[in-house]
Symmetry: C2
């Protein structure tokens, strides 16, 4: 089979690529060909026996999407997007990349199918940003999408297009709303959500981290490994079982910052916890107050999507996958 | 004030125009100028003392929207759309007119505001087609939008754009989801929903009508007069009170076909009822089974939107407004 990953150079795209290469297949079928596309050239994975193409592609340029699907990949992962902060700061760019780019891709698949029958599985990463406060304590699957960011609006529109194009038979789409990824590897960044990862990742590496909110803040998390699991499952699940409602809130772990810290204490000891400095940031406190705290993702669970078992596990996954199994100095 | 109606030649557009001309104003302000646009030239209303422009405009052609908003109307009614059946039959046309056309309009207002501050009230007619079965018995305001038609998807996307553009301050938008309009004046048409009007309108004119479903089918209705009332209220309501959730399910009358017929009997007598011939159409039965039956439009009610009081009233409105107060032969 031929797998196309759009947005392959991002954190989730890289981890998905590594996993598919390690597995050698998807849903019991061998992967003979892997096409990796992104705005920046993705790294070719080591140890893959099939054919790999890496290419620089801007989905928001008309014509790019048609080129990407011309070889008729069997599975398309559409992970490409600019993030919430950038989509908010640059209105035109957000709509061009997150909305127009997605629509160009969907239309390219549709038009490819007009030449000869073609109906690939298309996995679209949406986000819990499609929801906007106020929320119930646990957001059910039938709760409405009233985003409070342009990014959330763009993702919610992508979901509607995905469902309609799937209903019309142009492709077989599954949209998955990812929880906040924790522990996000790499350097601390300026995303308002960054601290959820910083307060674990930095102490595990022997570095200080700042906690800008109170320890009773509750949020919805999934490890990078769980996120890759969601993507693989979404690529192989029976489309008939999903039915016409193609967009699913992924299961996650609802935890308070205090619970995150207690897990850190259990896994890495008091020394790690002492590296967290509490320094309230009123701006971040205000932003985070508008975020979802918990979900009831009954449909995704019944369809076999699996969340991390505990925050201890989330921390151990980071130690295994990013730190070579060892907690830093 | 200057009022622009896009889609002014349609049934609701004509009734809104008549009403605004009869009122002479909107929300206590005199209407000095009225611009009426549609794919077909709208009729200039009689008896209007202000300036009227009528123009043929295809919103889905780039540049049209900019021309429409160049004179900075204070209130914009965006009623233009192709209907559900046509959007389903012609995928490209549906997206071009119902999605691209709407987005061009919203962007034209945004770009006009970049020249000098401009923030008109923009009223967008959405539809209960944004909902897709299965439903609860009464659909609450926080129920999710999972349309089962391309028309419904296009309207749901328009709603998301409206809310985001309003949040960003580009205009002051209110989206209203109209119930099925009953009694729709004119000739019987092929719309699957046509019978809800046909079984009343035709007997009131002394003509036979066919009922293709059983009398226990329940649906959600509003008279043309109520729809015009919703539009006027949406144009004048306090935007602050609406808050960030800009799209509202309008109140309607939930009634079974049997209740419609009983109202006809009370208003027009047994002779009218006898003109309804029951002839089941399995296709229409199947389509209608997927439609909403009832809503709990708490937010719209609390914001002062008012439904028709009874089906007797809906019938009397038709007799007053379309039949000159008299029931036909």
């Amino acid at each position: 089979m031929h797998v196309l990953i759009i947005g392959a150079a991002g954190m989730v795209g890289r981890k998905l690529t590594e996993r598919l290469v390690a597995d050698g297949g998807l849903g019991g079928k061998e992967i003979a060909r892997l096409t990796l596309a992104d705005m920046f050239e993705p790294a070719a994975p080591a140890g893959f026996s099939g054919k790999v193409s890496t290419l620089v592609a801007d989905l928001s340029e008309p014509g790019t999407a048609a080129r990407l699907v011309a070889d008729r990949p069997d599975v398309i992962f559409h992970l490409a997007a600019i993030v919430s902060g950038e989509a908010e700061a640059d209105f035109d760019k957000g709509y061009r990349i997150n909305l127009d780019g997605t629509r160009y891709l969907f239309d390219a698949v549709r038009l490819e199918g007009q030449k000869a029958p073609y109906r690939p599985r298309l996995v679209f990463t949406s986000s819990i940003a499609v929801f906007g406060a106020p929320f119930p304590d646990a957001i059910a699957d039938d709760f409405f999408t009233t985003p409070l960011t342009s990014y959330g609006a763009q993702k919610a529109i992508g979901e509607l297009l995905l469902a309609d194009y799937t209903r019309r038979g142009f492709f077989d789409g599954v949209g998955i709303r990812l929880p906040t990824i924790c522990i996000r590897p790499g350097k601390p960044n300026k995303a308002a959500s960054g601290f959820f990862s910083n307060i674990l990742r930095e102490p595990l590496a022997g570095q200080e981290a700042v906690l800008p909110v109170s320890t009773d803040v509750r949020h919805w998390h999934a490890s990078p490994r769980a996120a890759v699991g969601f993507l693989k499952h979404a690529a192989t699940i029976d489309g008939e079982t999903v039915g016409p409602r193609r967009n699913l809130t992924m299961p996650g772990l609802s935890a308070t910052v205090g619970e995150q810290i207690e897990a850190l204490r259990r896994v890495a000891g008091e020394k790690a916890v002492k590296l967290i400095r509490h320094e309230e940031d009123p701006t971040i406190v205000r932003i985070v107050a508008g975020w979802p705290r918990n979900f009831d993702p009954a449909r995704a669970l019944s369809l076999g999507f699996k969340a991390d078992a505990s925050f201890d596990e989330i921390i151990r996954i980071h130690i295994d996958d990013e730190l070579g199994g060892k907690i830093g100095a």
